[in-house]
Amino acid sequence: MSVAVLPYTVKPHPVTGVYSGKLGTWLFLASEVMLFGALFSSYVLLRVGAPATGPAAWPSHAETELSWKIGGFNTLVLIISSVTMVMAWASLKMNDLAKARKFLGMTVGLALVFIIVKLLLEYIPKFQAHHTPSHSNFFALYFTLTGLHALHILGGVIVITYFIFPGSSLWKKDPEYYTNRIECTGLYWHFVDLVWIFLFPVLYLM
């Protein structure tokens, strides 16, 4: 089809200096900022407007039973995964597909560590302690925000896995095109990490 022969699919536009996919990714991330921005705003509004006493009151730190150690560990995991993502792109720039796939694999592995820790050490114990979304607005926000973030992580895992296996055949046909795609995936991945960097203090520390 005509997909590959549209101008500026691979080469940067001489005036804007970017190829179309990168511009599109940035615009997509702008809309993601608005999505999470709306949710963080809801957090602020609900917390400020919460009644001082009664079942709907905002829980204190001790009551939420969120462990900053687990959250901190997961923050570290995601930051390292961002580094491996950059290493994958850098390896492609140095023409080393095998190394890039190794780093992409590490990124996926770290993402899965994040998900498993979240699920086994946080979500399931919370449900067992009846700290479900309907328990209070704090937990409603906690599950909605971290759940939506986890869905973004899973989306990233699917995309990166695709590029490790079937997607990497593009490397043989057009290495620059493949490198660009990894770069865009990386932009998305860093954004997802950044969301967590905001979520962690808001939910675990504040």
Binding site: S2, S20, G24, S31, M34, A38, A56, S136, T144
Partner: protein, 584 residues
């Protein structure tokens, strides 16, 4: 340029290999997708109109059995042909939802934008053809979910198109479908808007600087930014409301809520106002999504049919950009009655007054463009000309609503209905008709019948005013907008004759669309065949064959001048197309 030639070559090679499904159903060609969007949207516009014509029966003759079709809707909705209040509410909510999210926006952005914009910038296609296809099919799925909701227990969503909480949270199952449908529609518009912006930035033809873009492209550009940035907060709101409905959270549920004497099982602490803020943060920019592409179409038609350049093209573009920015800071003027505080109200009243200025600049520029023009009164031009006073009525009646003191009286009355319908119905819908008559020859290679078009125009113009003009007076008499039967109140009963006038106007307006429907299909086979530029226009879409082949242009166009070089002194003929090199 070699890339472009290569593209042509490539496409011709591969064209015959496309199967029927790839060519017409799962196509990645922006023109096919544009036609898919437009046809689907026209069907939804018609459907939304039908819902409203049914509501108008209940309003005009409350409690009377609907003649002929009354018994088709089942005992659960219309026992004995008499509409139940619940069904009336569902029709109202779905009329708004279908018209806004499945009708007008997909028509002006998905349909006109997809088809015309890449042609006007001289591009072979959109930047991301596959994403373009995904955008259409996501929209289609959203439409299917919305339609399916009519058949679930309790019927379709019935909490108004605004879905205000807590009513919507405790509403019947149809509301869940509404929210899921919105998620698909929001995804669709996200994919579409990214594609539009990237295409306009990256794929303009050589020489097509930003200030040589047709006004329509500018309108699409600003609109795409509004869609990109305003829709995600509604997506967030939809997720939160889904959580409230399905997981029992209390995002929008206050403490101690009692409904019909039954205490609700929500822990509370949520804020119904939060929903309104998130909803209107989308829905006010959405108003500009509805109107800006319409302005773009009207600007194209007016420049072409006055045979002179648009007056004040640059101020119009600056106004458009300013409108785009301002539309993000006026949303709470829909919420003056919520008790959010006079200081906040004062802020939003001020921004609302400010945003009226750029709209007036654009409209004034379009009116002045007519001055000393050599006007051709063809069908698209008639619709474009009617757009000007109709949009002006819609816009000016909005000013009292933007001031808290006046809004207290008018809020949630028929006055509001009259106001925004004047913007969207004889405003945007007339612009859509202007666009259809104007670009039909480009899409099909044939013109639409002019006599039928004029009958369509004059009847529509008379009856659409008969529908909406009485609403201002009803509203000022204090009739609330969501009443199922206004005759139960003395002040409503006193103006019931106006309601009947509106209703008859609506039904006659429905009949007035028959010449259009006839014309639309007949002209496909019986319309006069035309060359590539039947209107003698200057912009790039008329440099492509009618209809344009896959890949659009026979030779890649190069642009030498601004978009509306009509009646240039010293040039033979009264138009000087953008892609024609100066005569040496």
């Amino acid at each position: 340029m070699s890339e472009g030639h290569h593209d042509q070559h490539h496409n011709h090679q591969h064209h015959p290999e496309l199967s029927y499904w790839r060519k017409y159903i799962f196509s990645v060609d922006h023109k096919t997708i544009g036609i898919q969007y437009a046809l689907t949207a026209l069907v939804f516009l018609f459907l939304g109109f039908c819902l409203m014509m049914m509501m108008r029966w209940q309003l005009a003759y409350p409690g009377k059995a609907m003649p002929v079709i009354g018994n088709l809707f089942g005992e659960g909705n219309m026992p004995g042909g008499v509409m139940l209040p619940e069904f009336y509410n569902a029709l109202g909510a779905m009329h708004g939802t279908i018209m806004v999210f499945l009708g007008v926006v997909p028509m002006v952005v998905g349909g006109f934008g997809n088809y015309i914009m890449p042609l006007q910038i001289g591009a072979p296609d959109m930047s991301f053809p596959k994403i373009n296809m995904a955008s259409y099919w996501s929209f289609f799925l959203g439409g299917v979910v919305m339609l399916a909701s009519f058949f679930v227990p309790g019927g379709a969503a019935n909490s108004g198109w605004t879905s205000y909480a807590p009513l919507s949270v405790i509403a019947t199952q149809g509301q869940t479908y509404w929210l899921l449908g919105m998620v698909f529609l929001i995804t669709s518009s996200l994919l579409g808007s990214v594609n539009f912006i990237v295409t306009i930035i990256q794929l303009r033809a050589k020489g097509l600087e930003f200030f040589r873009l047709p006004f329509f492209v500018w309108a699409q550009f600003v609109t795409a930014f509004l869609l990109l940035l305003a829709f995600p907060p509604l997506e967030a709101a939809a997720v939160l409301q889904l959580m409230d409905r399905l997981a029992g959270t209390s995002f929008f549920m206050p403490e101690g809520l009692v409904v019909s004497g039954i205490p609700q099982a929500y822990v509370g602490g949520g804020s119904p106002l939060l929903w309104q803020h998130l909803f209107w943060f989308l829905a006010h920019p959405e108003v500009y999504v509805l109107i800006l592409p319409g302005m773009g179409i009207v600007a194209e038609v007016i420049a072409n049919n006055t045979r002179k350049p648009l007056w004040g093209y640059r101020p119009m573009v600056y106004s458009l950009i300013f409108l785009g920015f301002m539309s993000f800071v006026v949303w709470a003027h829909h919420m003056f009655m919520t008790g959010m505080g006079t200081k906040i109200s004062a802020f939003f009243a001020t921004t609302t007054m400010i945003i009226s200025i750029p709209s007036v600049i654009i409209l004034t520029a379009l009116v002045i463009s007519l001055y000393r023009g050599c006007i051709r009164f063809n069908v698209p031009m008639l619709f474009a000309l009617a757009f000007l006073p109709m949009f002006a009525i819609g816009g000016l009646t909005g000013l009292p609503l933007g001031l808290p003191a006046a809004d207290i009286h008018l809020h949630d009355t028929y006055y509001v209905i009259g106001h925004f319908h004047y913007v969207v119905a004889p405003g945007t819908i007339f612009a859509i008709f202007a666009g259809i008559y104007h670009w039909y020859p480009k899409v099909t290679g044939r013109t639409m019948n002019s006599a039928l078009g004029k009958i369509h125009f004059f009847l529509s113009f008379v009856f659409i005013n008969a529908v909406f003009m009485p609403m201002f007076f009803q509203g000022m008499a204090g009739v609330s907008r969501r009443l199922y039967d206004q005759t139960m109140y003395a002040h409503g009963d006193a103006v019931q004759s106006l309601t009947r006038m509106s209703s008859w106007g609506a039904w006659m307006l429905g009949l007035s669309q028959l010449p259009f429907i006839l014309n639309f299909f007949m002209s496909l086979v019986a319309g006069k065949k035309v060359n590539q530029n039947p209107w003698e226009a200057t912009t790039l879409e008329w440099a492509a064959p009618s209809p344009p082949p896959h890949g659009n242009f026979a030779t890649v166009p190069v642009v030498y001048r601004g978009p509306y070089e009509y009646s240039v002194p010293g040039i033979r003929g009264d138009y000087f197309p953008q892609h024609v090199a100066a005569e040496a």
